[in-house]
Symmetry: C2
Subunit: 273 residues, 2 copies
């Protein structure tokens, strides 16, 4: 399976209604996908180990999607096996007063990964071109300017050693309602229910359109967007993980070599006999 | 006195050797300048109070200059009267391992002022296009790229509400030696002496040229460079302060008004008689 199929490219024409959130790729069964997902997890652990040892690259994975699209679940599933010492995840909520008093990139820049690390953003600076856009508090012109800052920022990160990938978890409007209902039905999920999610649901079409703007304005070679069919969580997990692994494989990862010739330590070992 | 005279503009032709570090402007005596400096300090305190109350703008003052050019002294003198609650000063030293593992703008972005604040940078991201350039560890091409990031970063800050000014404290090579000698002679100044300053002094001409590159590459309307004749500290202090005050006066500062009509509290005051 070639992940390029999910890369958002011809950005002037990306319409979310043409992308099927129910898609299951090449798989015939869930079990088949889950077996492959396990293999990918093992591969990710190995790649992260080299990334961390080499301290040359870093990886930033930005997760976006409608409410209930499975951002938390994706982070949990695909990164559960990695070495936590080399991994940082940040969930960006409604900005604090301190954050609001700075430019909108301030709080995200702070959380970018140092060399050797993988970072995941659960929501991100893209919220600042989505929410205020949908609710009419950000003019088209101001949005354009923010998109320019975003492109420049991500390009800088990429050129300075941080590979940036952006995953859009794509669910259907029906699927969202189903998930909200689950939250209401299952006492173990009550805490996830937020009445404002139902309010935001009223703006579904506006959000879809705002996302299409995002894709058009910020699909850059150095920090590509991928769309992930997310109605089925097992395919969502498989594909997101696959994209992360393939991206890491595209870097020139290798364990660092000793600078000096390997010291001869045989003389330091006291003979047994 | 018009501060525009010290703004670095025709950047292709700025040669430091044509700028006189001994200049004293319009002043006949030190006393005259010091009296005006005191008045400016009072003005700054008032302007900062409005800036802080209004929480609409912020000001970033970047100080650069050769070793011993008086960066610490300038910060101390011009900002000693301001409300510390609305003022942040950061001295950027040799990057830590953590800082080095991020892009070079990471640590400075974190220290930019929130709305309502004044921030001073004692050294800054400009060190990253000076030191490695002089010592040959940054190629011309990489420097060009960094200059592009700097322009984009400062423009973003400016457009998002942070006014950026950059002050280059200009001293002569002889004056530097004099100051280093002072540090050796005065026991109260011994702690300021650093043997590596003498080493770096060997690269004087290379640094001057690297600064000329800085002016050519980063003199943008939204974040201008000013050169400050700094052989005489009283003129240096006067001029730096003047530029800060004039910049603040150029913003539309005003105390915020109550959103609602002023409540009539007369009825709440119990009559004395």
């Amino acid at each position: 399976m070639n992940i390029k199929r999910y890369m958002i490219k011809d950005t002037n024409e990306t319409r979310l209604k043409d992308l099927d959130p129910d898609e299951l790729g090449e798989f015939k069964s869930k079990e088949e996908a889950e077996a492959k997902t396990e293999k990918l997890k093992e591969r990710l652990v190995k790649l992260q180990d080299i990334l961390f040892a080499q301290k040359k690259h870093s990886l930033l994975v930005i997760l976006q999607g409608m409410d209930s699209s499975g951002k938390d679940g994706t982070v949990k599933h695909i990164f559960s096996g990695v070495n936590p010492q080399g991994f940082i995840v940040t969930s960006f909520k409604k900005p604090s007063l301190e954050e609001e008093a700075h430019d909108f990139l301030w709080r995200v820049h702070m959380k970018t990964p140092p060399k050797g690390y993988i970072a995941a953003f659960n929501r991100s600076h893209y919220e600042d071109v989505l929410v205020p856009r949908v609710h009419g508090s950000l003019s088209k012109e101001d949005a354009k300017r923010r998109f320019r800052y975003i492109r420049q920022f991500e390009e800088m990160l990429a050129e300075e050693g941080t590979t940036v990938i952006k995953l859009f978890l794509h669910i259907s409007k029906e699927k969202q309602l189903e998930k909200i209902q689950e939250r209401l039905d299952d006492p173990a999920k009550h805490w996830k229910f937020d009445a404002s999610d139902l309010q935001e649901r009223e703006y579904w079409d506006d959000y879809q359109q705002a996302y299409e703007d995002v894709f058009r304005e910020s699909s850059i070679d150095k920090a590509p967007w991928y769309w992930i069919p997310a109605n089925h969580r097992w395919y969502r997990n498989y594909l997101a993980l696959k994209i992360v692994v393939k991206t890491l494989e595209g870097l020139d990862l290798s364990y660092p070599k000793l600078n000096t010739p390997t010291p001869d330590i045989s003389q330091l070992i006291s003979p047994r006999h």
